[in-house]
């Protein structure tokens, strides 16, 4: 890329950083440091604001650049991802959003711990929430590093490392000074930017093909060199049975994982009522669905206009398909239009990463302070403000994420995101559904179902071809690969549910009827909700 692109992209990105820092300063001007304010932004966001913030929290750079890149390279198989990411929201809407808003205060553990013996359940749910958040965070940091390397041309290791450190430092500033209020506004701004950028590019693609979607598909199929099979499943996941099972496993993890992501759950606490939580999910389904429909046009558009060879030449994983498409749609590399459009897309991608990263950091600092520190601190220790602990935790998580992001920089971003979803679906979803809907669920069942999902998911990843045993793995030199699939979901999600069931059956403690009645009444009516 030429110097012009870089200067303009950097300029736009600096503007975004300046605006978000201004938001943070303005928001923290009269903060009063209560936990309600820090974790939940005072619970006074409107459904529309929260809907945009949820969409901003969910649509990561992996969706914007990754999915359209996959469609540009593999055609239909890229689209399978976006279907999974969208359908997952029905699980959230039907089973989770309203009930969680009614039963909890700040975290996932609040919902579960209310029915059970508090300490072990909080420690278990807190641990799994932090694990999921850190995995997701590392994916975003790795994405930020490689994005900069790709877009700004400088593939030097130093530039990547400094980007990861810079993103980490910014997110710590946003979260520890602005809390949920600043994070939410950053996500709203980002969601608006992302939607505008996607709408503009989609319109330009459709104009290029005179609004003829059929023509767009045909050109894409021709140019891909695969012909009609470009428009049908099988190019990426159609190999042997292992590859197919791997995809089914990923599909399950995507659709069940969203409802267990801590940073998504914590967004429901920022609105006053369950009804507002439901309406914010409806808003976000509209935004997210519209966005993924546009990535389909963008992906096939990149295949038709830029061509898969040019896309692959720039980045083997296809992550640069949309920026290249923007360059072409604006009028080509030498034109002003192309330069501007390219710079805008690059800046939006940066903004996307920053907003997502801030949301996850906030959710995991809540899990550390509200669940882990609250349960593990020494009984006689000097009481400290929970918010102060959460601010410190945000710094600590930032440091851990920067360190892991630097270590894992060669891992595939889409894989890391799929892994975070698989762990969320195995460890968080079973315990959440059991405690909301199962009368006989007990403390032992809750603890078993968290660890029974978390441990197998992590162990299966360590034993998978991602870590060892194949040339593309993390440690190609050694071979302790015993599990054939890259995504553990197919095995670990049922194990999480099974462990919760077994734990409850073998539990000596009788199920507490009264606590179950309380959960059920609160969940469905909102009585006593904060």
């Amino acid at each position: 890329m030429t110097g012009n692109h870089q200067t303009l992209a950097l300029l736009l990105f600096s503007v975004f950083v300046a605006v978000t820092l201004a938001i943070t300063t303005w928001v923290s001007r009269h903060r009063h440091g209560s936990a309600e304010e820090f974790y939940a932004g005072g619970r006074l966001f409107s459904p529309m604001e929260n809907g945009f913030a949820i969409a901003g929290d969910y649509m990561s750079a992996a969706s914007f650049l990754g999915i359209s890149g996959l469609i540009a390279l593999f055609g239909y198989d890229g689209l399978l991802y976006s279907v999974g990411f969208l359908v997952a929201w029905l699980v959230v809407l039907f089973l989770v959003a309203e009930l969680v808003r009614n039963c909890g205060r700040f975290t996932l553990a609040d919902v579960v711990a209310a029915r059970m013996s508090e300490r072990p359940v909080r420690i278990a749910a807190g641990t799994s929430s932090v694990t999921v958040s850190v995995l997701y965070l590392v994916a975003q940091m790795v994405g930020a590093g490689s994005l900069v390397a790709l877009l700004l041309g400088g593939t030097s290791e130093a530039a990547r490392a400094w980007t990861v450190i810079g993103v980490g430092a910014l997110m710590v500033v946003y979260v520890s000074f602005g809390g949920m209020r600043a994070t939410t506004w950053i996500q709203i701004v980002k969601a608006v930017l992302l939607m505008c950028g996607a709408i503009a590019l989609t319109a330009l693609v459709l104009v290029r093909f005179h609004g003829d979607f059929d023509q767009l598909l045909r050109t894409a199929a021709e140019r891909s060199g695969h012909g009609d099979s470009f428009l049908a499943p099988g190019l990426k996941y159609g190999g042997d049975w292992t590859a197919r099972l791997d995809f089914i496993s990923l599909g399950l993890a995507l659709v069940l994982g969203t409802a267990g992501l801590p940073h998504i759950l914590s967004r429901f606490y920022t609105v006053p009522t369950a009804r507002a939580a439901r309406r914010s999910v409806v808003w976000s389904i509209g935004l997210i669905g519209g966005f993924y429909l546009m990535t389909i046009v963008l992906g096939f558009g990149a295949a038709a206009i830029v061509g898969p060879d040019a896309v692959r030449g720039s980045n083997a994983a296809g992550n640069t398909a949309v920026p290249l498409l923007a360059l072409d749609l604006g009028g080509g590399a030498a034109s002003t239009g192309g330069t501007v459009l390219f710079a805008i897309v690059a800046a939006i991608a940066f903004a996307t990463i920053l907003a997502v990263v801030a949301g996850i950091t906030l959710a995991s600092s809540a899990s550390v302070a509200h669940d882990l520190y609250a349960s593990l601190r020494r009984r006689r220790a000097k009481p400290r403000s929970e918010v102060a602990v959460a601010r410190t935790a945000a710094v600590g998580i930032g440091v851990v994420a920067i360190a892991l992001g630097l270590l894992a920089r060669d891992l595939n971003v889409a894989f890391l995101v799929g892994l975070a979803f698989a762990v969320a679906a195995s460890a968080n979803l079973p315990v959440l559904l059991y405690s909301l809907f199962w009368r006989n669920f007990t403390t032992r069942g809750a603890v078993w179902s968290v660890y029974g999902g978390l441990v197998p998911a992590l162990v299966l990843v360590v034993l998978s071809p991602v870590v060892s045993g194949s040339p593309a793995s993390l440690f190609p030199g050694v071979d302790f690969q015993y599990f054939p699939l890259e995504n553990p979901g197919l095995v670990s999600i049922p194990l999480g549910f099974l462990a919760g069931w077994l734990g409850t059956l073998t539990s000596a403690e009788p199920p507490n009827e009264a606590k179950h009645a309380e959960t059920e009444v609160r969940a469905l009516t909102g009585a006593g909700a904060v």
Partner: protein
């Protein structure tokens, strides 16, 4: 009708069994900037009130009004989850195991796979609309009434001796 009771809700709810000492804002700052003291009532009295507050929830759970709200929720959600989950899993499994069927052309460049994929988007939007409508028309009002009744009952039990 949106109920919001402000940052001091931690203080008025100290005897709420839902948020016992551990979860209820330990060390949250009070108005003066000092950590608020954890307020624990005398042991026996606390357990007594907790027991009676629990009875309130059992009573509400067994009431006909609550059973009606719950069964309306379940009658919509259980079949809806079964349908969309089967449809999604069926779609993913068909896409991976029967690519030939999915590649069958329908009209122009559009094939079965493309229609199925766009169909997933469409059904997601339809389910969202149907759920929101069902909840708004069939559940919201009854749930709100129950919420006030339950809160009245717990308040009278908890506040009786203060």
């Amino acid at each position: 009708m949106e109920k919001y009771d402000g940052p001091d809700s931690g203080n008025v709810r100290f005897d709420d069994p839902w948020y016992d000492a551990l979860a209820s804002g330990w060390g949250e700052l009070d108005g003066t900037g000092e950590p608020a003291p954890a307020v624990l009532p005398a042991r026996g009295e606390h357990e007594d009130r907790t027991a009676r507050a629990a009875d309130v929830y059992l009573e509400v759970q067994h009431s006909a009004a609550f059973q009606e709200v719950r069964s309306r929720y379940r009658r919509f959600v259980v079949p809806a989850v079964a349908v969309f989950f089967t449809w999604y899993v069926g779609y993913v499994v068909t896409a991976t195991t029967a690519p030939d069927f999915m590649a069958r052309p329908v009209a122009g460049a559009v094939n079965v796979a493309m229609l199925a994929g766009l169909g997933q988007f469409l059904t997601t939007f339809l389910f969202t609309w149907a759920y929101a409508r069902h909840a708004r028309l069939r559940r919201d009002r009854a749930a709100l009434d129950l919420r006030w009744d339950t809160e009245e009952l717990t308040r009278s039990v908890a506040g009786g001796e203060r």
